[in-house]
Symmetry: C2
Subunit: 330 residues, 2 copies
DNA sequence: ATTCCCTTGGTAATCGATGTCACAAACTGA
DNA sequence: TCAGTTTGTGACATCGATTACCAAGGGAAT
């Protein structure tokens, strides 16, 4: 392990040049079979493995996939990453992750850093609003969860608007008219699209939209308690809550349970562990992070292999999982 | 972004040699102040940033921390990684993660791969039983969650035995005598130590240990239902369950709720989202993954900075969080 | 004034693998 | 037999930053 075996060592043992040894290792055809065997034997004997750094430097590209997400510990992204990593490892590629903490500046820094490292491909859940600078990226890029702006690129998305509609329509069909929307702060497209879906559902049902029912919470806020309490203490409190993402659901549900307000109908955009063990079990609009990860990685790997297909925006399927909380009457 | 600026470009613009430019960039002192300024100006004007690959190749070490865990999507590890990454990014270091899927062979492969990449440090949650081969590792190594075997190394651990004792004693003090132990398969030290704690608690309370109350489940098993059902269907079913880790708790609780058996007392080793929103809320023995991540990263960074302190095994604090499920009477 | 030291900067080697190009040998076809 | 091709091989340059080594110039000390 410690002693580094170089290509030249292999070449010396095989009594040939480094170039030819390199040819054998990289599977070039034009090598005499006896020479090839000598080199292969030397490789085995010395336990030689090419230095990935030197190779990358020379080749100009690293066998590495860069993944940029909000935060690794977000369960959604953790699953996405897990799946990407699994696919990468099958191909002996490395995964470098970098999180943005939802900061646009930080996103630029980490993407730049990854490109500096000559990653062979990028998978990005972006929080910025302009990706024109990636037009010249020296590697394929696949966006996940959030669209690319000013850039023609592959993307694997969730149909945010449709998902929100699915959830809100469900609540409406169970007789709710006073439905609150709780989500992260609304600076992100994903959040805006979900809000659009919510708005659309209400509109189609002829329910007037009320601003005081729409709450965007700072995701770094530890305790959503006061906000939820205030919402429920209004003269006309909502009878149902649509939560626009998992992280938000976890926090709001904690509060609702603490307050003993499990009579409020609830639908979560995004499933989570224990959702079906709560009382009542939580109705969710489900999308599979693993599936998104797999699709994104697949797309990226194909591009990295040179596939010149037209860019595509893939929308992953969504479905409502009724479990109880979304079927409560007002 | 695409145009690569080299050190020689900087040197040319600053009208000096690459050597001197390099000195300025790496903060050497022996450079004339006017020269230094010219170089700095050139760096700014060209937007130069050293190529990390070339630098690593030359230096023999990469500004990268390698993290090896069972699986990224495991909430415990996701949090640990998140914290490590945060600390690394503050120091402009990169994090490469690799997961073992709990396979010893795979662990060897990924660790080897990381060392090949000349990572500056390693943080490992190991599943293997011998780490002698890391004695010669060219970089500092910190173990997390699981001890190093045959290797004197830093480690940041949870006191598994004490944690299990805490949980099981708690159940015993609430009158339980028939306490089941559910955990992952027992091939891992962590799991064994927890089982030891369980055994010890029973012993001290004069409760005979029953093999049919100890169940090690394959973590890849999707549905723990049949196992739990069988356990509860025995002639003398347990009145309490101690679950040895979070992943296990999530699965078992799902089953218990489905069966409507929330009368069974339950203590989980490891907290999780929604634990306090379940009915009854789940009593847990809590340990902070973030804390573990921070301690491990801190330790590693100090070693990387050349600190030659003696190796240390740090045990993170544990505490019982009584919430209801652990206080149920038999 | 001369020697010595110290600062400063240049040249070239190095890290390890690979692309370019040239060249020899072997082989083809006429 | 000879031009022309194919095949196999190696010397050398290259990727970009760092560094060992050397040299020159300025200032201080004798």
């Amino acid at each position: 392990m410690i002693r580094r075996v170089r290509l030249s060592d292999v070449a010396a043992l095989a009594e040939t040049s480094t170039k030819t040894a390199s040819r054998v290792i990289n599977g070039h055809t034009k090598v005499g079979s006896d020479t090839r065997e000598r080199v292969e034997k030397a490789v085995r004997e010395l336990g030689y493995r090419p230095d990935p750094l030197a190779r990358s430097l020379r080749r100009g590209t690293d066998d590495t996939i860069g993944v940029v997400v909000d935060e690794v510990s977000d369960p959604f992204f953790a699953s996405v990453i897990g799946e990407i990593e699994r696919m990468a490892l099958d191909r002996a590629m490395t995964v470098i992750i970098a999180s943005t903490q939802r900061l646009v500046d930080r996103e630029h820094i980490v993407i730049d850093g990854l490109l500096q490292r000559r990653v062979a491909g990028l998978i990005i859940a972006s929080v910025s609003h302009d990706h024109a600078h990636l037009k010249t990226a020296p590697c394929p890029v696949v966006f996940i969860d959030r669209v690319a702006v000013n850039l023609d690129s592959d993307a694997v998305l969730v149909d945010d608007r449709a998902g929100a509609r699915l959830g809100v329509d469900h609540l409406i069909s169970h007789g709710h008219k006073r439905i609150a929307y709780l989500g992260d702060y609304l600076g992100i497209d994903t959040a805006r699209s979900r809000l659009d879906g919510y708005r659309e559902s209400l509109e189609l049902a002829g329910i007037p939209m009320r601003d005081d029912y729409v709450i965007g919470m700072d995701p770094s806020l530890a305790d959503s308690g006061p906000i939820v309490e205030a919402l429920l203490a209004t003269p006309e409190p909502p009878t149902a809550i649509f939560s626009a993402n998992t992280r938000c659901s976890l926090r709001v549900l904690t509060t609702l349970h603490r307050l003993g307000r499990t009579d409020i109908a609830f639908v979560s955009f995004g499933d989570f562990a224990m959702a079906d063990a709560l009382t009542p079990p939580i109705t969710v609009v489900d999308h599979s992070p693993e599936f998104i990860g797999r699709l994104a990685a697949d797309r990226l790997l194909r591009r990295m292999a040179g596939d010149e297909m037209p860019t595509q925006t893939i929308t992953t399927p969504l479905h409502l999982v009724p479990r109880g909380s979304g079927e409560l009457a007002p």
